[in-house]
Point group: C2
Chain length 698, copies 2
């Protein structure tokens, strides 16, 4: 037999070895074999167990190497310590891929990490690719190959569908099937990726992008690994019209810690992960249940960002809940424009107009409902429709629900919230391919996702010369923090305006000459290799107006710094023009441990930290993205002209953000961290100016 | 027949008149009659319709006055314009209460408001009490009296239960029954209160408090009316061990607007409503579905505030979702303390400890699950338990779910999140009286509610003399704003420290004498009946150090104020000691249109507004409540010693909050609004001092 491709070996293996097979009822390693046949796998199954001759009617082999035919896929359930040897034998037997169910590897502590490394090293050495370890298996629905012991396979039948799933959680693969099927949703392929030690979420994602049976990709993630490969996969999925939808743990600090310990993954910043998903056109849901309705809002549609949804209701209370939840999710419930409403009234339509388009008791008749709905579908102000149906959903779907079903095929995202428990009407929705929400909160989350969905952001071009200049400036420097003057130099070369300054030796006369060049009033700051926190050390004096004050400032700094740290060396003083702005910001650049280079904007200061009020994006960014960041930081409202305050120079601020974000273009990620704090923002037209900053080299 | 009590007339009427009865199939006014008999009402039914002799086998009457027997309850479905006359006839016929289904009253605009007033006036004149108008009816489950046309009554049977419901939304009364029954939850009584024109939510609530068949009260509210009566009802319910649970619309601005227009209700501040509920021991849920699980977490338990919940799981992914959602809701997922965990391991228990207590695949066996759960129930660090069950919930409830069911009757709130779709296992939970959550978000919300539930807050005592002094100060004043000096006087009498000050006539010499008394440096502020915004008018000069500067400041103010407003009269100048603090706060007192007197604390300034970072409580408050407010305002972190900053005098700040909140004790709500902004907070031990403020009399 020719060697299969990796995708073939995973999803359509012609033969499967079950290493650690068993005939003890109810054991994981016996269930897998039974489930395979039960769900229609027609290839060869080779149980491997040295203590059996036959299991469930299939000949059993002492080792994978003893199997006469070639094996496309091995499923491993033997104890952890045996796994390296099992993988070695797989390699020797020419098995291209092994799915390792066995747990107690990287997720279980330092010894497990070591053992997992041994498994990976062995696999690489013998040319076996790995899924897992600590995974629940892999399910192909058509043709059937369910290589997993998951109890969900007790179900008599599995629904086929067009959604491919990859999950860090093994048990949730069963949940997808269970909750999906309860709503009439089927899947194409499901992969429990476990500890993701070799084959990654991204690599499976790429296979799903190429899979003609998969039209959307759904991920349950505890972390993000291989960010670059993930990004490339997401972009290719987008280009092929296959939306990628993610539920990721880690909104709370507790969950971040937990997943770090549970999966051996590194904790990153959750908001940085948000930015990463947005950057690459991935949709992140907030509510788990959203995953089961969102495909119906977006499949077959292009992203069309917006935030206006029309809510039509037969019930004031139920409709009010949707309006409220949409509002909390940042979506406007949109009334029918007055002229259009008047025209509808003139045609005899019955409804009460407003954020809730209330059909009222009287208007809950098919003909009237259709009249109102048809108007909404035509209306450019309406970017999506939620139909809220009260008691009639349960007993008289023909009154309000059925007219809504006629909108099937509309280009706008459509969803219904049936206020009562109305399983049969929900089934009507599923059959029509229209989302049917069980909760008002889930409905709002799904519309937030659908209308917030954006194409991947294009990485802007830049002037390579800027980058070259920065590379030159740092090429000879060792890793660690640069001093303020060196940091200024980097920012300057990037194109961020700096306050005029000069370095004076620890010598009053020299300083006076430099001060004259810069011009008073001035700030003097200590330069010392031994002082990391200048202000804390008393190494900064503001508001120096003349030579006498300058000399006094030096003396003050010398005394305070010596008191702070007896042996601190004084390399000199940085003299800097004292600048003023309408306001100030913190502008930062950081390598997030999960997703790489990011740029951060905040108001700076303690309150910025307290409120967590920052905007983060994947670096580098375009001016447009930078403007989006400025909009996002609530605390910058005064600079945006809030309550008639003078506008700050937001164009210049955007330019500075773009400039700093270009650090991401440096080769070898040499700059680990950079921060300008504060960057003063002057009034519109007068630009921005950096007055302090720090660069840390990697 | 003796005249029934109002509660008897509403819930156990011996006879019901259906005014506007019909035999046209499917009409509201025909359904009510059919449903009454269908669900077992055994009293007399008198259809009223001048064009029929008999409807569905009951003799029909032209008017309620023609009915021979006495009528306990009238249900009115005639057109809006006829309702005043119908109510008059009810009065003449001695009917004690009418439930008005008819809509198009206050909810539909100014004409409806007028018509509704006519109905109320008539009802008062003739001694008829009213439910509605614009309501869906009223359901008593036992003995059955379902006086409503709601389609939900198509159900073959209604579950009896121990929960009483009052809803502003009529259609949602059906939803309660529908969603409740789907989960095995029944009700005692349900009232659609409609426009709440006469009988209020509070009044029905009082009846439910006294109803032996009701053990908990559930409210769906679009607004709060009759706040005092509502508060009294909630407190009495608490005292009788009947929790009050509320879903209230209005989290978003859009919903606030919508409910204001939809129900003719006034919009209040949603956070003030939150404070109101907390004040009176009412639990507000964030998620609609929480209503259906929360009773099982709290019924029969005393409030025991906390925030530590143990999460036990058979699935890492499912458990991780709960840990994450709890974290977002502010609840700590609590590990087993190390020593206890070690002891459990020594006894052979299998689990991985942490924020998620992961039973792992191996540990998902009944005996092991019980061992871990028993430990949690004993553990004082654990204030509630969430059991998360993966695929086994669907196919093998005996493994993990059943051991959990054995905890039934525990004093700690217990809930299960079944990750797959597992309706049968959910039924097992319902039967055991244990909450079974469908979504991780709903689970977290319910535990937030259960552990955040607190007894009603006792209103603290005060020194009546303070209040008397304030009453004296304002007794002669007309309504409107007081000037700064008059406002200071009020704050001073309340006991809030004021910056030393004096009023100088528009005369430099007089001013110099006063300044000497106060001591430099000083601030000078204009006093003018024509200037509302002193700073805007240029009427304030800071940092006056001597007599010369004082004279110059007066001159500056005169010039600027005249330029600002040509004819502004100058009544004099307020001279005030220039004060400094570690930080400043805004301290306000307001009459919320819905819930009455509130006290507000914020950081003041634009950012306080931008972030909405304020703490609000019902006034008056105790020192303990005031300290809770100080904790709650994020922007006060610096004054709380954040990152080693010097602590502010928070005791003095709490005293000032208490003092201002005492304005609520004034008779006749004479003070509508008061604001001290800023109140400077000095370092611990040095107190607080108000430097500007305003009082508005009603």
């Amino acid at each position: 037999m020719p060697r299969p491709s990796l995708s073939e070996a995973l999803f359509t293996p012609r033969s499967i070895a079950l290493i650690g097979a068993s005939d003890a009822p109810g054991r994981n390693n016996s269930r897998t074999q039974l489930y395979l046949r039960k769900h229609g796998y027609t290839g060869a199954i080779y149980p491997v167990n040295p203590r059996r001759d036959e299991i469930y009617g299939e000949k059993c082999y002492p080792s994978v190497k003893d199997i006469p035919g070639s094996v496309d896929h091995a499923f491993v359930t033997t104890p952890p310590q045996t796994v390296p040897q099992v993988i070695r034998e797989c390699g020797e037997a020419g098995v291209p891929v092994a799915t390792v169910f066995t747990a107690e590897f990287a997720e279980s502590g330092p010894e497990g990490v070591k053992l997992q490394q041994e498994v990976i090293d062995t696999a690489r050495a013998v040319g076996v690719r790995l899924i897992g370890p600590n995974c629940m298996g892999i399910y192909n629905m058509d043709p059937p190959a369910t290589i997993a012991p998951n109890l969900i396979l007790e179900l008599p039948e599995l629904l086929k569908g067009n959604i491919g799933v990859v999950s860090h959680s093994g048990s949730l693969t069963g949940t997808f099937i269970s909750r999906g099927q309860a709503r009439g949703m089927g899947f194409s392929k499901i992969v429990s990726i476990g500890n993701e030690s070799d084959i990654s979420v991204a690599e499976i994602g790429e296979m799903l992008v190429d899979d003609p049976k998969t039209e959307a990709i759904m991920l349950f993630l505890e972390t993000v690994r291989h960010a670059d490969a993930f990004a490339a996969m997401a972009r290719r999925a987008y280009a092929k019209g296959k939306p990628v939808m993610v539920y990721k743990l880690g909104r709370s600090a507790a969950a971040q810690e937990f997943t770090a310990s549970h999966t051996g993954a590194i904790a990153g910043t959750d908001v940085a992960v948000d930015a990463f998903f947005r950057q690459h056109g991935v949709i992140r849901v907030n509510y788990f249940e959203t995953l089961f309705e969102l495909p119906m809002l977006i499949l077959g549609r292009e992203p069309k960002p917006g935030n206006r949804v029309s809510v039509v209701s037969t019930t004031g209370g139920g409709g009010g809940m949707i309006v409220d939840c949409l509002g909390v999710a940042g979506i406007d419930a949109t009334a029918i424009p007055e002229a259009r409403a008047k025209a509808l009234y003139d045609e005899g339509a019955i409804f009460s107009n407003g954020p809730l388009i209330d059909l009222t008791f009287k208007g809950t008749r098919a003909e009237n409902v259709s009249k109102v709905l048809d108007a909404l579908v035509e209306m450019p102000e309406c970017e999506g429709v939620v139909m809220v149906v009260g008691s009639s959903a349960q007993f008289h779907p023909e009154l309000a629900l059925k007219p809504f079903l006629n909108l099937k095929g509309s280009k706008k995202p459509l969803g219904a919230f049936l206020v009562p428990d109305a399983p049969e009407s929900n089934r009507l929705l599923t059959d029509a391919g229209i989302a049917g929400f069980r909760t008002p909160e889930g409905c709002a989350d799904a519309f937030r996702c659908a209308l917030g969905w954006q194409p991947p952001i294009e990485v802007p071009e830049t002037h390579a010369s800027n980058i070259d200049a920065v590379v030159q400036a740092i090429s000879a420097k060792p890793s660690g923090s640069l001093d303020e003057q060196e940091s200024r130099e980097i920012f300057d070369r990037l194109g961020v305006p700096q306050a005029a300054s000069g370095v004076a030796k620890d010598d009053d006369e020299h300083a006076v000459a430099i001060a004259k060049d810069i011009g008073y009033p001035l700030v003097a700051k200590i330069l010392s290799p031994d002082i990391a926190h200048k202000t804390e050390a008393g190494g900064v004096v503001l508001g120096i107006h003349n030579a006498a004050e300058l000399a006094a400032a030096f003396e003050t700094i010398r005394t305070r710094v010596t008191a702070y740290s007896k042996d601190a060396r004084i390399a000199g003083f940085l003299l800097q023009k004292m600048e003023k702005g309408l306001g100030e910001v913190l502008l930062g650049y950081r390598h997030d441990p999960l997703i790489g280079p990011t740029v951060v904007l905040g108001t700076g200061g303690i309150l910025s930290e307290v409120y967590g009020d920052v905007a983060i994006r994947v670096a580098p960014v375009s001016a447009e993205t930078a403007r989006g960041m400025i909009e996002e930081v609530k605390g910058l409202a005064p600079l945006r002209g809030y309550r008639g305050l003078p506008m700050g120079d937001l164009d210049a601020l955007a330019d500075a953000i773009v400039a700093l974000s270009n650090l991401a273009r440096l080769p070898d990620a040499r700059i680990r961290e950079a921060e300008i704090n504060p960057l003063l923002v002057r009034k519109k037209g007068d630009g921005v100016v950096a007055v302090d900053g720090l660069v840390i080299l990697g």
